[in-house]
């Protein structure tokens, strides 16, 4: 097995971990984190595609590499936006949960805190 295949399988497993965390973890912040893990797994698979296409004396195809750089930046922008939304939710409701019927707290403590 080549190093590229090994990292590719690692990326595939990371996508699985990230997807599982995204679905099962109820906390919004943990969902964002899992989503980032999923994304990094996809990028890693893309990196393997680039590595396998090495030619012309380069270690990898520069086109997928440039696309991954753009992707990392866009993922960061989305993460920053998502975290700001979670913090705003906390500011408005004093809670940070996505569930409509909050089993842990009562609805009376809504409002600005």
């Amino acid at each position: 097995m080549t190093a590229a295949t090994l990292f590719g399988l690692c990326g595939a497993a990371l996508v699985g971990f990230g997807l599982y965390g995204l679905v099962t973890n109820p906390e919004p912040l943990r969902k964002i984190l899992a989503f980032n893990l999923l994304g990094s797994g996809v990028f890693l698979v893309f990196g393997v595609v680039s590595r396998r296409a090495a030619a012309s004396g380069l270690g990898g195809d520069p086109v997928p590499q440039a696309m991954v750089i753009t992707a990392i930046v866009v993922a960061f922008a989305a993460t920053a936006m998502a975290i700001a939304l979670v913090l705003r939710l906390l500011q408005e409701t004093g809670r940070s949960t996505l569930s409509a019927d909050n089993p842990g707290g009562t609805d009376t403590d809504r409002g600005n805190s």
């Binding site: 943990r30 893990l37 842990g104």
Partner: protein
């Protein structure tokens, strides 16, 4: 088995272990710390895949900036009331099966590569000399796929607008709610005095060398942002209010110059974002310098968050 393949296997085991721990950890704080470590390890994996430009970006953004944002969020979310219930066991099993199927599908795709692997590397190298650049990734970013790069910077500005627009009406145009830890005798203050001169030189170097070697505007801009955030968090400089004109000019100057050169290309080189022959490299370096500044300011402000206080006159 060579020493390198042992290294790769160890790296993959660490990546998977720490990646899984960020999902499984009970405490959000532990998960975020795991994520930062994971980001740094992942950048080593990128070096092993011969993608040093990506490794630099991953270390700066994936580990550093995202980690910092998440740590700030964890600190604030401590006061959150009410706890979420974990998904029920059948739901978790179903999610596990779904995730395993997706991962297996990807693994099959990885294990069965096509006979002839498509590559654009020869085409990139063929025309790279014309642009005067030595780094093929910079060539792709600023010549072949310049529109992607331009739009990526626009996405950053849009995200910043989105974050700002979450501010309540009464503090619009105010000061971002970055947590400041101003203790004159702390290690943080010492580091905030010691690191910025070095960091700024590193940022300028990364931006400059990006044309020839791995590096570039984004990596340089991230280092600049980190230095700015460091001095702001240590309380050595105040957090500026978002209504400052200089701040807004700095945020847009990079994309505006990029766009202006792109539009000039329509007249001088017969295509949008094309460079007149012979002037490609100086124009690209000019764009990179302006972008480094804009990215630094935009990232710093994204990390600082929406305005929370009104500016005191």
């Amino acid at each position: 088995m060579t020493i390198l393949s042992v290294f790769d296997i160890g790296l993959v085991v660490l990546l998977l272990g720490i990646g899984a721990s960020t999902i499984a950890a009970r405490e959000a704080f532990a998960a975020v710390i795991g994520f930062v470590v994971y980001g740094l390890l992942l950048s080593i994996a990128w070096v092993r895949l011969s993608a040093v430009d990506v490794a630099l970006t991953e270390a700066a953004i994936g580990g550093g900036m995202t980690g910092m944002l998440m740590l700030g969020a964890v600190a604030r979310l401590r006061v959150a009331k009410g706890s979420d219930t974990r998904a029920s066991l059948p739901a978790r099993v179903a999610a596990g099966v779904l995730s395993a199927i997706v991962a297996a599908g990807l693994a099959i795709a990885i294990l069965s590569p096509p006979e002839a692997i498509p590559t654009l590397a020869p085409m990139v190298m063929e025309n790279l000399a014309q642009s005067g650049l030595g780094n093929p990734v910079a060539g792709v970013l600023f010549v072949y796929r310049a529109l992607d790069t331009l739009l990526e910077k626009v996405v950053l500005i849009l995200a910043l607008l989105g974050v700002w627009s979450l501010a309540p009406d009464n503090v619009w145009g105010g000061i971002p709610g970055l947590r400041v830890y101003a203790r004159p005798d702390s290690t943080l203050t010492f580091l905030a005095q010691l690191l910025p001169p070095v960091g700024i030189v590193v940022a300028i170097y990364m931006c400059w060398v990006g044309a020839k070697e791995p590096g570039g505007a984004f990596q340089g801009g991230t280092v600049l942002a980190a230095m700015w955030l460091l001095v702001m968090i240590a309380g050595l400089t105040s957090v500026p209010s978002i209504s400052q004109t200089w701040l807004r000019v700095l945020v847009v100057v990079g994309p505006v110059i990029f766009l202006a050169i792109g539009l000039a290309g329509m007249v001088l080189a017969n295509a949008f974002l094309a460079y007149p022959s012979g002037y490609a490299k100086p124009l690209i370096v000019a764009v990179e310098v302006a972008l480094t500044l804009s990215i630094g300011v935009a990232l710093g402000l994204l990390a600082a968050g929406p305005p929370e206080r009104v500016q005191q006159q």
